[in-house]
């Protein structure tokens, strides 16, 4: 299960041309994600954390440095890496089951095996009974669960999550965070989560990468003690949150845990 190799990000930089000027979105990013590890990346808006995910998944191919998987340089998207975006991005004309099956379009599995996988992953996210519904009939949280099922149906080695719960209400968010942790742990998937929610980063991550903007760079990488991360009310959790917030440049000790987007 853990044979899918380490994700190595070496000296990665990314520049955009904005109105004739070159802006550095990312600078000198070095990060190594071990197989089965869950890494949370936190940072304020504009620190390039989403750009980093787009580089890893292969949507942006023009960058400096190297991104390696199992020692091979990544070139473009492959089915081994899946992404869940902040918006669910379901195809509105396809039923829920067909949206999940989109993930298997390139697969060479026999049709009944594909059907079984779709069903299994819908059950995994608790939406087995909504297979025939259209996306517009689902709530935001349900849609995002379908998007997670679509990302997982190929059994990717690496799951990338770009603020997947950012648009959801607090209750749904807490529920889906717990669900996501359960699924990722049980499938042994390597996960990289981008978020601006410090509590979410601590709750889900084995390590927390704190990024700072202009240019987007890694400020520090903090290990999360597994005993402290499960209980949001524990002093250890609060202490880590304080450290992360300080790393983000929020020096005031009573700032709320969630930064403004």
């Amino acid at each position: 299960m853990t044979d899918h190799g380490t994700l190595e990000i070496r000296n990665v930089g990314k520049r955009f041309d904005v109105a004739g000027q070159t802006v550095a979105a990312l600078s000198d990013i070095n990060l190594s994600v071990a197989p089965g590890e869950f890494v949370s990346i936190v940072g304020a808006s504009g620190c390039g954390k989403s750009t980093l995910l787009r580089l890893i998944v292969g949507l942006e191919r023009d960058y400096d440095g190297e991104i390696l998987l199992k020692g091979n340089r990544l070139a473009g998207p492959t089915l081994g890496r899946a992404i869940v975006f902040q918006e669910h991005r379901l195809f509105p004309w396809l039923r829920v089951e067909d949206n999940v099956a989109l993930g298997l379009l390139k697969s060479t599995l026999p049709a009944d095996e594909k059907r079984r996988l779709v069903r299994e992953h819908l059950d995994l996210v608790g939406l087995g009974s909504f297979a025939k519904a259209y996306p517009a009939q689902l709530s935001g949280g349900m849609s995002q669960r379908v998007a997670i099922a679509r990302a997982l149906v190929n059994r990717p080695d690496i799951l990338l999550l770009d603020e997947p719960f950012g648009a959801l209400d607090a209750l749904t968010r807490a529920y889906l965070q717990a669900e996501l942790r359960r699924i990722v742990r049980s499938e042994g998937i390597t996960a990289v989560l981008v978020t601006h929610d410090v509590e979410e980063a601590i709750f889900l991550g084995d390590r927390i990468v704190v990024m700072q903007p202009r240019p987007g760079r890694i400020a520090e990488i903090l290990p999360v003690d597994s005993s402290s991360q499960h209980d949001r009310a524990s002093p250890a959790f609060a202490h880590l949150r304080e450290i992360v917030l300080n790393g983000l440049g929020a020096h005031h000790p009573v700032l709320p845990g969630r930064l403004a987007a």
Binding site: G76, R89, F91, L102
Partner: protein
């Protein structure tokens, strides 16, 4: 433009009521018309009574001529519409999905489409002769333009975020076309087909009226005009309107059915 409206949100009862409201004006007009001809207010040769027209319709029907004319028009129309849209959809998709085509062919097409469709009649008559082929070519052209324009617009505006999903799922070009581009353009394609349906019906009448005479509703009207049989002319008008209305309805029903995912 066509009225592609939805009445969702209005309850069934209210909708039925509104439906009836729309019939009041035609009913009044028909009453005025009938009264005018009954009381001799207008010359019966210019505006024959309803009874005369109904009688004429019955006669034509009994002689079998009316069925032949309607069938001739419909076959011509559907053939032209089918050819025009069968060429228009791929052309529109190609223009919308290929940036090169959009840049190279787009401006020319946009310029040419400004030419009123009836201005093509002399050219088409020369190119396709005076027979059935010319009429069908003209009808096809009338359907082609709106189908291309709307398909093009639909294919060009495939949502970028969904295109990224297709990219991440490493879908092939063909899979992107069938799972993303076409379904996402489908509402626009239907607008184009709907307009094409209307334009090519107008073109059918135009072709029958302005090009060579032959069987068809246009031919029937030409004959009526030449022999000063106003009942025949009005019968033609009623048929044109009725068939056009029916086709419009049919298109709306089909559209609602195919785009059912938009209803939710």
């Amino acid at each position: 433009m066509t009225a592609v409206t939805t009445t969702s949100g209005i309850s069934g009862k209210a909708r039925t009521k509104q439906h009836w409201n729309g019939l009041i004006l035609p009913a009044v007009l028909i009453l005025v018309w009938e009264a005018a001809s009954q009381f001799g207010i207008v010359d019966a040769r210019l505006l024959p009574s309803l009874g005369t027209i109904a009688g004429r319709a019955w006669n034509e029907l009994a002689e079998g001529r009316l069925a032949v004319d309607i069938a001739a028009s419909l076959v011509r129309y559907l053939t032209g519409f089918a050819i025009g849209s069968a060429l228009g959809i791929p052309a529109g998709l190609a223009l919308g999905l290929s940036r090169t085509l959009d840049r190279c062919v787009g401006p020319t097409f946009n310029a040419v489409k400004q030419i009123a469709v009836f201005a093509w009649i002399p050219l088409i008559s020369v190119w396709f002769g005076v027979g059935e082929a010319a009429k069908i070519a003209f009808i096809a052209l009338a359907a082609f333009t709106p189908v291309v324009v709307n398909t093009w617009a639909g294919a060009r505006s495939v949502p970028r975020d969904l295109a990224e999903v297709a990219q991440v799922l490493t879908l092939s070009r063909w899979q992107r076309l069938t799972w993303l581009a076409i379904p996402s353009a489908l509402p626009s394609i239907f607008v184009g087909l709907h307009l094409g349906l209307i334009y090519s019906w107008l073109a059918t009448v135009g072709a029958e009226y302005f090009m060579t005479i032959g069987p068809g509703i246009g031919g029937l009207m030409t004959e009526g005009r030449e022999h000063f049989h106003m009942d025949l002319v009005i019968l033609g008008v009623v048929l044109l309107g009725g068939i056009g209305l029916g086709l419009n309805r049919l298109a709306t029903v089909l559209e609602t059915h195919v785009l059912s995912w938009k209803q939710h």
